[in-house]
Symmetry: C2
DNA sequence: AACTGTGAAGTTTTTCACAGCC
DNA sequence: GGCTGTGAAAAACTTCACAGTT
């Protein structure tokens, strides 16, 4: 699915780094300075060996006998993931979901900043959503090029997701987080990830015993 | 040989079934009656061999030379995932996110029904969100027991996620979809899944070239 | 004593390739 | 021709276990 990393680091490893980063930030907020693969693993329900192995792909970040300096490791992971600077993100779709995304305060300290919100519905254009004014999808390509936006969050109805994605990619977007419950097809040089709560719920119901 | 015992089927296989189900439903909406592992795989960017292997865990659902009857396969997957009947789901947290979840129309046809919405904030209790009236977290345990709710979606601030999860589990919830960007610890007999858009974004930025 | 980093071993997951069927 | 289902092979991933460092 995802393109191979330049250094042949498995994609599955890359996928865990954000979890490590999240847990480390939490540990830091709790006032800790140092942690270990064991402590992190316990929090994340991941084996300590796995964490050490994953981190070792990027260099020796820890100290034998001591563990990992949390601040240092956070910095390193941010560098690896390229979230040490802030990415501008476009939100497409100003319904209930787009609204929730645009209001969410959790992007900033993790490397992202909502830059603009678009919708196709003339009734929504010009309305305010949080700090943003909803803009027409007709000005979308222009805006994305001008602001050099590489990332978009897609919160439009499933039937429009593919065509809107095509437009975004044409305008220069290289990573799409798709909230519509539909698979979309993108070129190899474009990243795509999905968020669909129902797939998670259905995964869990497999293991539930009916009453 | 009919369906095998569910116990030794890899979790990673179970995780793909909802994706197959979603794509099949889409194909059906497009008017198709029959599909093949190849067609499905193309849509999902999964190899056809993988799809055949996954489905074969549950019995022979296809016909050689022909492919899979879409309607039949949907029915079978719904049975396997136990989403052929409707599960009641509690939403906890009535902020922007809880609001978007409560308004979302996409649960019904996929096996779920929002049954109630809770919040701890006295200012929100009694307010309407879509078809629901926000209820106090003090009546939550009671409601969950009464309505025999087994699934909850957690959309509260990270610092409350663990304690609210504990309460839910105590009241009988056995599956939690956690939207708070924090790992929570649950007993072995409770399912937990996470939705955190930032982890997906950070995963993708690894592969982006900075300009 | 506590911990990392890492080859080697072990396990899981994916792909291959083809018999059998439509 | 096209397709599934499946053992066998290959690849990917995780865990083990311990040398080496603080």
């Amino acid at each position: 699915m995802s393109a191979k990393s330049p250094d042949n680091i498995p994609d599955i490893v890359i996928g865990r780094l954000p979890l490590y980063l999240r847990a480390l930030t939490r540990l830091q907020q709790e006032g800790k300075d140092v942690t270990s693969s064991h402590e992190l693993g316990k929090r994340l329900d991941i084996s300590s060996a796995q964490i050490r192995k994953d981190l070792s792909h990027f260099g020796g970040f820890g100290k034998q006998g001591t563990g990992y300096q949390i601040e240092f490791l956070i910095e390193k992971l941010q560098q690896v993931l390229q979230v040490n600077t802030e990415w501008s993100v476009a939100v497409v779709g100003a319904g209930n979901l787009g609204n929730a995304i645009a209001h969410y305060r959790g992007f900033h300290y993790r490397g992202f900043r909502i830059a603009c919100v678009f919708d196709a519905d003339p009734n929504k254009i010009g309305k305010s959503i949080g700090d943003f004014t909803v803009q027409s999808q007709e000005t979308m390509a222009e805006q994305i090029k001008e602001q050099n936006i590489k990332i978009a969050m897609l919160a439009v109805p499933a039937e429009y997701a593919q065509e809107v994605a095509d437009k975004l990619i044409e305008a220069g977007v290289r990573a799409i987080l798709n909230y519509a419950p539909i698979n979309i097809i993108v070129p190899d040089n474009v990243q795509i990830q999905y968020i669909d709560p129902v797939t998670h719920l259905q995964h869990m119901t497999y293991y539930l015993s009916q009453d």
